[in-house]
Homo-oligomer: 253 residues x 2
């Protein structure tokens, strides 16, 4: 029996490069009269982490190469944007007009290497926002900063919206984690009748990211932070890198 809560924080200022996200989260919680405690999970939208880390790129600074120009022509996209997608990817998996599905250098498979052009200011010309360079490291830094500020073990999850090959509509997924159990591996344990559970591994991080992302909204809500409460505290280090299915086991390359 569980009682979980998810609270989103509003009034968060637009994030600029160099902003201190731990302080921003502490301020947002304080405005709602909340203090972080052991077992709390702070979820941050990828967008504010990328913005704070200066991952905004002006497209007029990008010089597309031959591969990018060719792929851009085949998919009817801006060649400069396609160059950024290629730079951020390990390989292109599928492409058709309007769609480029890649394996991101971090392992995530999805459209456009997670590069987004919505809800950014486009100051001085058209811009694109890349994923954080190392979101697990970003989450770990935030986890430590929150511990230093509060003394509490606050788990951190950086969430981005992911698309799926056979299901319409995005759901949030974890791209950076620190301080909680990401995969709950029940293989080898028994079910209610003593039968061995053969394939039960539960992705806790993606399950939390999905709901928190829905709560935060993905368009004009301006609530890029959520606090998830009610899970038993754990002290796994945790990382989103654990989620990536090994290439050797990928049946859909």
């Amino acid at each position: 029996m569980l009682e979980l809560s998810v609270t989103t924080f509003d009034g968060v200022p637009m994030v600029r490069p160099g902003d201190d996200l731990a302080q921003l989260a502490l301020d947002a919680a304080a405005r709602r009269g909340l203090r972080f405690g052991d077992g709390d999970i702070l979820v941050l939208a990828q967008k504010i982490v990328s913005k704070a880390e200066g991952r905004l790129v002006r497209l007029d600074t990008v010089e597309p190469g031959a591969e990018a120009r060719e792929l851009a022509a085949a998919t009817d996209k801006d060649p400069r944007l396609v160059q950024l997608i290629l730079d951020e990817s390990a390989c292109v998996m599928r492409a058709k007009p309007g769609v480029i599905i890649v394996r991101h250098r971090l392992g995530h498979v999805g459209a456009n290497a997670g590069i987004d052009q919505s809800n950014i200011a486009h100051e001085g010309g058209e811009c694109a926002l890349l994923l954080p360079r190392d979101p697990d490291a970003s989450a770990a830094r935030l986890h430590e900063a929150l511990r230093a500020a509060t003394g509490a073990h606050v788990a951190v999850l950086i969430a981005d919206s992911l698309n799926r090959p056979w299901r319409l509509g995005t759901t949030g997924g974890a791209i950076g984690c620190a301080g909680f159990e990401v995969l709950d591996d029940r293989r080898g344990l028994s079910d209610l009748y003593g039968r061995e559970l053969k394939v039960t591994m539960i992705n806790r991080a993606d399950s939390i990211a999905a709901f928190a992302t829905l709560a935060m909204g993905e368009t004009t809500e301006r609530t890029p932070l959520a606090l998830v409460r009610g899970f038993a505290p754990d002290h796994h280090p945790g990382s989103a890198a654990e989620i990536m299915r090994p290439l050797a086991d990928d049946l859909f390359q």
Copy 2:
């Protein structure tokens, strides 16, 4: 700004064929002093819906055909189980030892057509539990039964754990829905800076199913019901069938 809660219900008896799940949910809520209200979302684990609908099959009643025997040999599985998988599927997408990925007749892509052998009694011999015949219809019936019993508009979501091609660990997904907006389509609307949102469609049902399934647990928790509160009530009819990406747009067949 949102404040959402997810509560799981314990003390739910083991479900038998013909059981009245609406009454079971009302009883479980009453034991916790809760009454269903407008905008509440009741999440049910697929397993209890399948059990109530008599979808348990004794393997010794199944006669595997030639295709099932061949696929069973290639994947090292019980030919009778493979026959059930084939009967429940539109096509086999990938197979290797230990793994059969199919497109279920309902459209869901995943391992073993959602057929499960854990947490069932295996009375009179080894059994397997199939997905409900029409989970959207099951959800709609529960939605109407709850309205008749309470007068409230209670959304219903039947959740099953789904695996994903590139990410380890299962997450809950929606296989039956009634009474809420399943896909939130923001395409054509504007972002914070007035730029058109091009590809923003949010899968609300899967996002809720993921978190509720994590809360309910998938092994020995015996909490197959969850109540999700805090979303604004809506009066979309809703169905999980909406989620299926059309075959013509599937880049990973």
